[in-house]
Amino acid sequence: MWTLAALAALGTGAPYEGRTLVVMVDEKSFESWDVLQTIARDFELAHPGLEVRVIDQGGAVGQQDKSRFMLTGDLQLDVTRIDVTEFGAFQREGALVDIDAHLRALPGFDEANYLDVLDGFRAADGHLYGLPSTFTPYVMYYNRDLLERAGLAPPQAGWTWDDLLDACRKTTRDTDGDGAIDQWGISLTQWLQAVVPWIWQNGGDVLDETLTRSRLAEPEAREAFRFLRRLLHEEKLASFDATFENQYSQGLFQAGRCAFYGPVGYWETYRFKYITDFRWDVAPLPRKLHAATAIAMTGYVVPRTSRDPALAAEFVAKLAGPEYQYTLAEIGNGVPGWKAAALSTSFLNPTRAPESEQVFLDVLGEARFMPSLANWRKIESLCQAELQGALLLERYDVDRAAERMAAKTDAFLASEERRAAKPMLPSFAMEAVFALALIASAAAWLAHRARAPARVYARDERSALALLAPWAVGFLLFFLGPAAVSLALSFCAWSPLQSFDAVRWSGGENWARLATDDTFHASLVATTTYAFASVPLGLGLALWLAWLLRAESTFAVFVRTLVYLPAILSPVIVAATWRFLLDPDRGLANQLLALIGVEGPAWTRSGAWVIPSYVLMSLWGVGAQMLVFLAALQALDPTLEEAARVDGAGPWARFRHVVLPQLGPVLLFNLALGLVGAFQIFAQAYVLTNGGPGDASRFLVLYLYETGFRHLDMGYASTLAWVLFAILGALCAVLVATSKNWVHYAARSRG
């Protein structure tokens, strides 16, 4: 260190020597990656000695989970990009650095250089915690050709709900005369952020001004829901799109089969630029009492794990400034927050559809952010299932759904308030729990050792301990300690974005919540159904295949290899494969069913079929179990079967009375492991359905993960983990207890 200081003092060393900035703002696959690298190199040149390490934010599936993990793990991260709906959570949890002063100290910094969206990253005290990347207001896309054919003019600013209704009536038709509508007025987007603008336009809101009470049950909101239902069901002008979880229903618009598509953001222009067979454009959302729309936005922030917030803030300004923003605008990533870039031809590109890009800037005056809450995501997920019912199901009591949404939200907000009032635990509490677990296990071992008979073979014992030590250390540090902490956390409230200094004691509240948590009940049902369907079916199939393939022929070996292959694939790849197979429209499964004249179900997009879909997927992976059965079958004494043949047993009797009983131990092994595995299903559901439709596939581990890392409620997530542990423990105990009746362990003969 002193040499560096000395060098710096001599004026020959680089002033930023040894300092590093870790930046994670985009995905490697993103088109702007190279420009990002250039900006990083420029920044290094301007700060001699500094290293800017740009790391990949991960795929779309990750949903910015990577930055959460890095924060939770206290890894250095100086600049990252978050969604504006998460800002409330990050800022309130103390996960972000207040860079207001650093920004304002930068030469030439002026809020006027940005479009009027800075409030998205402004805390209650007026301080800026970040700067916008790109954003988009929700607008309405329309098919100009379809409207003209119906004799309609393109919608202009100030058009109303009635105008929309009228236009939809005129454009909805059955073009081929088969009695089914194939051209729709509108393809409606249905997630909460896209529904909220309708409520705002009607004078309602999601929450009241104090952000403590839901307004979704109020007449303004209900009327908005009813208007959407009118489009969807009463007049059947909107496409009834069952793909709620698979939120983007842009397919219809892209195919030229609907006049309007929205409310939706700028990101669709990126997809629609390939449309060549009709003209399309964008318009502001129609108004009712007010003109209103919502903004989706991401921005650059400095997490608390930054080692150098001042420098990080400077890099934030760089990313939000012209060097990067013009590039983002040209790529078509969204509306750049940098005003000059947004007003330049980089964004308002006359050679590129849509013609009226200006609309995205024009509606800014009436655009709002979602409420800035610590737990907006949780509220979204609480409302999701009800919203889906309220909008998509033909028969549904909207008023009751609205009331339930409001009640759930209110209850949640109230519980959040109570939690904030809970007493803080001393800062060393979790460390103490960790240490206590280690001490307790050491004490238990010593006690056991003291009770054990005198040891004759001290040397043997020493080498046994030496051999066990590496495993024991791993077990204690990475399993027992964390398990004890998680048990303690299940009685606490804690956000993983915070350090262990900020754990609140909530007593049995998490445990009591299990009784009233509908999502938990749904996930319990989903998980149990899945496990009790997939495990017996899987075992049966595995055993059957093993029985068929136990011969030592080349063909059997080849087929065995094929059957085993999926078992070594990552569940993510398996899920991706099945996504194609089970696609309701273009999937192989439904195409094959169509060949035999059966109309296939919507598989993962149908509440009734999503669990069977996962069971089907699990059956694809029975190779591992088959292998265990195969090994067991091949280890069987063939003379037993021969004896049974001579005794007069047919194939089924031989299997039932001779082979199956001998497989008892292996059956128990596969059953126990299968149940444990099935109850922990996660990756497939995370990739494929993300819990939907509704909560139909919100398996326990997925719900646990969402609770812990998306809704930042590690206490309740720990409770869920222990519930899972208890369920599996109980199941295994029952299995082992009953197995005495059906598992026979072959004893060695005593000749």
Binding site: L640, A643, V646, D647, A653, Q662, A747
Partner: protein, 351 residues
């Protein structure tokens, strides 16, 4: 009960012919032992009869039925396996009852037969045990019981005693013999132990490399082995087989020279059972000469002495303690009537 007939049975596993054109008839109630070295095809032959192996060609008849296309279950026979093949998850009673259950024998009848069979084999106290808790001899009895209980037309035994220790083997051998005397069920018994074959069999069939070498009563086979192979295989200690050439009416091997059974020049093998070689030269013997002792094994009731005979070895089995030392030269004598002659090329007996 029924007779068993095998006609021209051939079995091949891939390229390898295990049984070549084998024929055998077993009369009703007869006890025939198949004996031969490992790999000679005797177990395969038994499995052909059982129906566990399909012959490539040939016919198998049990009684007046041709059975080679039938499943084992339809052949009405019972088999006892070398490793007993008891169902490990079933109790002794369940093991015994299994063949009857498969035949849907009524419960009361079934229980009665299990009880009777168990009693006749001394298993009555073991009925509730599982095979894992039985000794080898007990397991063997259960296996016998499971075969007996069905009252089959034919019993097949596949080396049933080879996993038992020597003492138990003798007991069980006697038990099987008694069993056959009592039931008179036609039986085919496979063993590689020639002494077992000699004591058990009504007839023995010696099998080598997939062919019968000789079929006959045990003592006939012992006294007049039909081939050089049988001569070497049957009898313990094994017969001395000394290859040499007969020329001008004399046969010479090492120092031994004696009248040949033929005047022609011919390659022959001279067979001499060890117990036919005597030390005392007092009585007039047809063949007598002095040889060097190379090895002595004292077995208590007898002593095995090896002599050097040219490049061959001649073994003698002498009664009691013969008090012979290695290196000594001793005069031995062999009765001419006890000599066996075989053709070296075909292996067939000359007379």
């Amino acid at each position: 009960m029924a007779a068993l007939e095998l006609c021209n049975v051939t079995v091949s596993f891939g390229e390898h012919a295990v049984l070549r054109d084998v024929s055998l008839s077993v009369a009703d109630g007869e006890f025939v032992v198949l004996v031969g070295p490992s790999g000679c095809g005797k177990s395969t032959l038994l499995r052909v009869v059982a129906g566990l192996v399909r012959p490539a060609s040939g016919e198998v008849r049990i009684g007046d039925r041709r059975v080679d296309a039938l499943e084992p279950a339809e052949r009405d026979l019972a088999m006892v396996f070398q490793n007993y093949a008891l169902y490990p998850h079933k109790t002794v009673a369940q093991n015994l009852a299994f063949p009857l259950e498969l035949r849907r024998v009524p419960r009361a009848e079934l229980e009665r037969r299990v009880r009777e069979t168990a009693e006749s084999l001394g298993l009555a106290d073991l009925l509730e045990r599982k095979p894992g808790a039985l000794s080898g001899g007990q397991m063997q009895r259960v296996a016998l019981g499971r075969a007996l209980i069905r009252d089959p037309k034919l019993f097949l035994f596949d080396e049933p005693l080879s996993n038992l220790d020597a003492k138990l083997r003798h007991e069980m051998r006697a038990e099987i013999a008694r069993l056959h005397q009592r039931t008179r069920v036609t039986s085919l018994y496979v063993t590689h132990d020639q002494s077992e074959a000699l004591t058990l069999g009504g007839r023995i069939a010696v099998l080598d490399r997939g062919r019968f070498e000789q079929i006959g009563a045990p003592l006939d086979v012992f006294a007049r082995p039909a081939t050089r192979f049988v001569a070497g295989f049957i009898g313990s200690p094994a017969m001395n087989l000394l290859p040499g050439v007969a020329r001008g009416g004399r046969f010479e091997v090492g120092e031994l020279s004696l009248a040949a059974p033929t005047d022609a020049t011919r390659e022959l093998v001279l067979g001499v059972r060890p117990h036919e070689v005597a030390l005392d030269a007092a009585r007039a013997r047809d063949v007598s000469l002095e040889l060097e002792v190379t090895f002595v094994e004292a077995l208590g009731t007898q002593t095995l002495v090896s002599f050097r005979l040219g490049e061959h070895e001649l073994r003698a089995s002498l009664d009691g303690d013969a008090r012979v030392r290695v290196g000594e030269r001793k005069r031995i004598s062999i009765s001419r009537s006890s000599l066996h002659w075989f053709d070296q090329g075909t292996g067939l007996r000359l007379d």
